[in-house]
Symmetry: C2
Subunit: 408 residues, 2 copies
């Protein structure tokens, strides 16, 4: 077997960032835009709020009418009515006050609101036992967003808060990056469709395809499944070539045999320039990973072992999808802090991913390594997440606080 | 205004766990099961693997034929052929060896595999420069999963690893908990449909509905939107009653006015027994939260302010959905560790949620508080996540390491 020119994971991420760029854009309704990335910057078409609003229940006043008021010497204000929610507010004159409800519009003239708790009605008058400063308990017109100001930049991901913000501006059609389409092939002569009920000897079901399809959907992509490729180079190349024309990212999930690994690498060389960029990554599990740029489109070859395939797709597939989606903000990876239950040995010079089961007793969350070969499926479902051992470390010690990256 | 009997967030979560249980089940195809929860335990219908498999490329042998072999005294084995991937393996006799590829079936008789790197061909013979123990480099039949053994328990969430594991067993139809259907109402006379292009004075667009609908979908629910309820109690109650019949969880996102808050509370009392359970939570922002059990169905009243509504839905709505989905495993909330950029004051006796923007310089991730009133939308989209200040703490100090819960 040819010795692989193994690259560090950092190096592979750098290659991904350099080689691939955002797809073209499309305009879609706000209701479908969650999880998508803006293809153009958005500027506010109006002031938010579009009127001076109160942030409390109370009385709108001319602030100066309350100056000097206190517990023992209340200011006396003439009650001039109530601003109904959703209605334009009337004007008030100096010396007057007007009942307003949280979120309601401030009457013209009024520049502050006294909280209702600080007042008491007295016939047609209202007593104020506190003084308020101009602007107190008021959000001014345009204070949240000024008309014409930048709301969200290009490449910003639309999460629930952004959806809310765009809805508040009445922006119901959004120009976002087109959703990446992944073409997915399995390979290896031992594989059969996972719908197969009775297995013949030596066969296993292609379990990576549906697992990767779900993970890809979670990461914001659509998936077109091309089936299981046979260990015949010509068929392999032909099918790959026509799939690549249709999709934005082509993924092979390798059979574990040398034959299918070789076909994948050769295919990646022939599908387009510059071809194969990565042959092997210093990651465990997941070393036999392949990455190519074929005529501008990314092609990823995943190891056949289920644990490796999911791990590598989450890491490098996720990074490629971020590029195709035009994501501009940095990725911060959340983790669960837990106390390692035992030593984990590791070899320096590679980044290890260890499957972890979490167990909480009292305040302490224990991180318990789930051992097993990377082909073993049971260890996957038992794990709540993964812990990485950095390239320069020779293992982790029992009792150490580790950061567990959750499987979601 | 009536004084609210404010409950702690822990108390509210306890009430949710006591009051609500899992919905009924349905059977769906594996391809649609990602993110769903198993309604029944799954036992393995077969052995995985169903044959003894090699974990390396090498020669299958009788281990005892290699005993004593070493660099200077190789064992000599008769080459008897190759096991093709996906084919049943032949039998081998003592003294023979057979070429096998990673994942391939072990020949009958063979009990170990010598890695190809430790061998050298010599005419019709193969030299082995190492001895192997019985079982070395072999996964035995049933070693991953034994036929009849528990694969996944009831209430287990189907993530990508589980989808792969079930596919490997050929289990393509799964009995899962029915997906919760949420009925969503907005209320408040100041609100207008967010598709409205030109706002009249005093009006704001109902931005919570689409933001909550997206968040609900992310948390594994379907949403039926019932529109904006007017501040008229009879209409409010009638519409709520017919919606509640159709859905599994009813959510009101309140107008900020006292009127709509009162209508929500009264409606919750009248929709069914035992009625209102929570009137106010010691959380900032999000205090005016309402929770009821109306004839066994949860009804949640969210504050009208966008930040509060999303915060409370993520916390309590998420917990209710976990109950309805029959989730059995504990929730571990992942976070991003970051260094607080400045002091944040807080009042003891309530749990504060502070919006945080993250900024990485070198190795350090800074957590920068984004201040602003809870009604202000801009602060939401600027934030990468939230930091909580526990009930018993009076703020956090600059330089402190905090855990930021990401907005996803």
């Amino acid at each position: 077997m040819k010795l692989m020119r193994v690259k560090s994971p950092e190096n592979v991420l750098k290659i991904i960032n350099e080689q691939f760029t955002a797809l073209d854009s499309e305009t879609i309704p706000l209701e479908e835009a969650g999880g998508r990335f803006l293809a153009e910057a958005i500027y506010s078409p109006e002031n938010v709020p579009d009127f001076n609003r109160t942030t409390v229940d109370g009385y709108a006043v001319y602030a100066r009418d309350t100056f000097g008021a206190g517990e023992s010497m209340p200011a006396m204000l003439e009650y001039s009515g109530e601003v109904l929610m959703g209605e334009a507010a009337p004007q008030i004159e100096p010396g007057q006050c007007c009942l307003v409800h949280t979120g309601g519009m401030l009457p013209t003239g009024a520049d502050a609101v006294i909280m209702i708790e600080d007042t008491e009605p007295a016939g047609t008058m209202v007593q104020s036992f506190r003084q308020v400063a101009p602007g107190e308990n008021v959000i001014h017109r345009g204070e949240d967003l000024e008309s014409g100001s930048l709301v969200l930049d290009r490449g910003h991901k639309l999460r629930a808060p952004e959806i809310g913000m765009l809805a508040s501006l009445g922006l119901t059609d959004l120009t976002v990056c087109r959703k990446p389409l992944i073409g997915l092939f399995s390979s290896g002569d031992e594989l059969v469709d996972y719908h197969t009920k009775n297995l013949e000897p030596g066969r296993i079901r292609d379990s990576n395809a549906p697992a990767l399809a779900y993970l890809a959907e979670q990461k914001g992509a659509r998936v077109k499944y091309g089936g299981i490729l046979p260990d015949l180079f010509d068929t392999f190349l032909d099918k790959s070539r026509s799939m690549l024309e249709e999709v934005d990212l082509l993924i092979f999930t390798g059979g574990s045999s040398v034959g299918s690994r070789d076909h994948t690498a050769r295919t990646m060389q022939e599908l387009g320039r510059p071809g194969l960029l990565v042959e092997g990554v210093s990651i465990q599990p997941g070393k036999p990973t392949l990455l190519a740029n074929c005529g501008g489109k990314p092609v990823l070859g995943l190891p056949g072992h289920p644990v490796s395939a999911l791990n590598i797709f989450a890491l490098f597939g996720g990074a490629i999808l971020n590029r195709l989606n035009g994501k501009e903000k940095k990725n911060y990876n959340p983790s669960i802090k837990a106390e390692l239950s035992r030593n984990i040995p590791s070899r320096a010079g590679r980044r290890d991913y260890v499957r972890i089961r979490l167990e909480q007793t009292g305040e302490t969350i224990k991180a318990i390594p789930v051992f097993g070969r990377s082909g073993m499926l049971r260890t996957l479902a038992e794990a709540d997440g993964l812990v990485t051992i950095p390239t320069d470390k020779e293992g982790l010690s029992a009792g150490e606080l580790v950061e567990v990256i959750p499987w979601e």
